[in-house]
Symmetry: C2
Subunit: 355 residues, 2 copies
């Protein structure tokens, strides 16, 4: 139901994905009117909900008021069935309201032991021809050093599940020597990450700067959610501006329009390389269930890519990997992570969970 375009985009994407993945069974969640068109699809079960979380609904509305929303019903499919450790679905993919999705997923699924806060990770393209996973991208505004360590451990599990790398390199986002004052959280996070690396838990590269994301200096970059969200939107904004400038320059004069015709195949290949729809699909990490988030503005191509990403993650046992890694790191660094559990946490859901 979610995203800026709703079922007109998600349904065709689901159908294509289903046709290309004969090993997949689908649970399609939505209002009866919206998903009825999929009634006769193969390997597809319709699951009805009566409400929809709107893109501009606040977290409170999603949590307290719309108790039968398609988003909540979809997430609930990941919960173990009573008396088993099997669940109806292995992964949930949504293009809906990010804040609501994170809050509902956290409330319904809970976090793993040792994880204070879930994080959102998404890939950005780099000059090496691959992707740099960046987290957190907006779930947590104020992060402690321990949270940043948890992000590094979860992000490592994500990259090894999606890209098959055993020990992905981790960069800690920091700023250059321009800083007169040190950021205490970042410094302490560096200490924790070095300790985890010394214990063989992660492959810590050291500090990186904003440009290293696009250089591909490390496989993943960890930062707090405020910074991550700003850098993501800055990158989107700049890419949009540069695309517009190219378009303007190629349509300025009759001669430049002619040049555009000649250059069109090349420009199209360039556009494909920086097309953010190709790397659609952020992962919500740290939860007892796999949730993927497609960009709200997704078209069918982007949403299908998010489905593929979720499918790959489920097939490569991302959930177990995150769980194992966190448990191992907890065992080796008991003190550092134990401290994180004692942090004052103003979020009521998290407190309830800790209790």
């Amino acid at each position: 139901m979610g995203g800026d375009h709703g079922p007109s985009v998600t349904l065709p994407a689901c159908r294509r994905f289903l046709d290309h993945h004969p090993d997949v069974d689908f649970l399609l969640v939505g209002t009866a009117a919206a998903i009825d068109a999929a009634r006769d699809w193969p390997r597809c079960t319709l699951v009805f909900a009566t409400e929809v979380v709107a893109m501009d609904d606040g977290v409170e509305v999603a949590l307290r008021r719309k108790r039968d929303s398609s988003m909540r019903v979809a997430i609930s499919q990941l919960k173990p069935l009573p008396g088993t450790d099997e669940s109806a679905a292995d992964v949930c993919v949504s293009a809906g309201n990010t804040g609501a999705l994170m809050a509902l997923a956290r409330y319904v699924l809970k976090t793993f032991e040792g994880i204070d806060r879930p994080a959102i990770a998404a890939p950005l393209p780099n000059m090496r021809g691959g992707f740099t996973q960046v987290l957190d991208l907006g779930a947590n505004v104020d992060c402690s050093a321990e949270h940043l360590l948890q992000f590094a451990v979860m992000g490592s599990a994500l990259v090894s599940a999606l890209e098959g790398k055993d020990q992905p390199s981790v960069g800690l986002l920091n700023i250059g020597e321009e800083a007169i004052k040190g950021g205490e959280t970042i410094k302490r996070a560096g200490d924790l990450l070095r300790a985890a690396a010394a214990a063989g838990q992660i492959n810590f590269h050291g500090n990186v700067e904003g440009n290293d994301i696009f250089k591909g200096t490390t496989d993943l970059v960890v930062c707090d959610g405020f910074v991550g969200n700003v850098l993501l939107k800055t990158a989107e904004g700049l890419a949009g501006m540069m695309g517009q400038f190219i378009k303007q320059e190629f349509s300025r004069t009759p001669l430049s329009k002619l040049a555009a015709l000649v250059a069109m195949p090349v420009l199209r290949r360039f556009k494909d390389r920086v097309d953010h729809r190709r790397y659609s699909g952020g992962a919500l990490l740290g939860l007892r269930g796999l949730v993927f988030k497609a960009h709200g503005s997704s078209d069918a191509f982007a949403f299908e890519n998010a489905l593929v990403r979720g499918y790959d993650a489920a097939r490569n046992r991302l959930l177990d990997r995150v769980h194992d890694r966190i448990r191992n790191t907890l065992a080796v660094l008991p003190e550092g992570l134990a401290r994180a559990g004692n942090l004052a946490d103003s979020d009521s859901d998290a407190s309830a969970e800790a209790a």
Copy 2:
């Protein structure tokens, strides 16, 4: 002496600038060997220093050890001559080590009353064909709400001095609704900025996100120095990657190389529009003297642009404008700004200054 290329870049840039600005008198500061080539330049006085702050020198080295550095001597030209309120120079421009420049400028010149911390502001190009000034870009890692208000007031003075706008619009950098937790500092900064706007001191637009910088939603965007530095380097990194991708695609095959030839004039105009050398020249704001910083990697074109920016600022009395605006805002919002002065400040220079 500064920058990655030193006098081989700065001297030709200075000479060109001098030739184009017959109303300017120059004080050229450097080691005797390095600046001797300018001995016979018109309207140019050589000022000798015996030491040079290296690009990788720490702040302590610049402050305590190299007491006769060209950077320190240059900044000292801005101090009032004994018994007068005239100074030898109106503005100082350097491509040197940013951390050292900020620390020395702060130590030698001191900040204005009402300013706790100086900030670095620099323009980024936007889709409206103009520039968005962003501050702080790396001088202050941890900023309070009061600091963000001071940045807004100083940035408004900068835009009105450089672009002639009387009431530039101010955006407060924040993140979308994805945030489960609010950033207390940002929320309080919003309150202060609204209060300053209600008192007619600034033209506050409200919250903006990373992409608004390139949309040109507001004339200036304020944020803390950590976030500002990350977003600046993210933008540089992404622009570099996109430039490389374009180059790669246009040189992939004989046919695409042919397309490159045809498209060359258009691609060149595009490159000019996003050329960061065009908007070289960050302003150090809040000090009792005008200091401009060119990018360390500046070539002669970029360094000359930084000189032009410094010249424009001096001619348009940027220093007086910042001072006036801060004083006026202080008068209207005594409580809000007074609180800022009481903040614990771990920086010894700032404490010494306060004492």
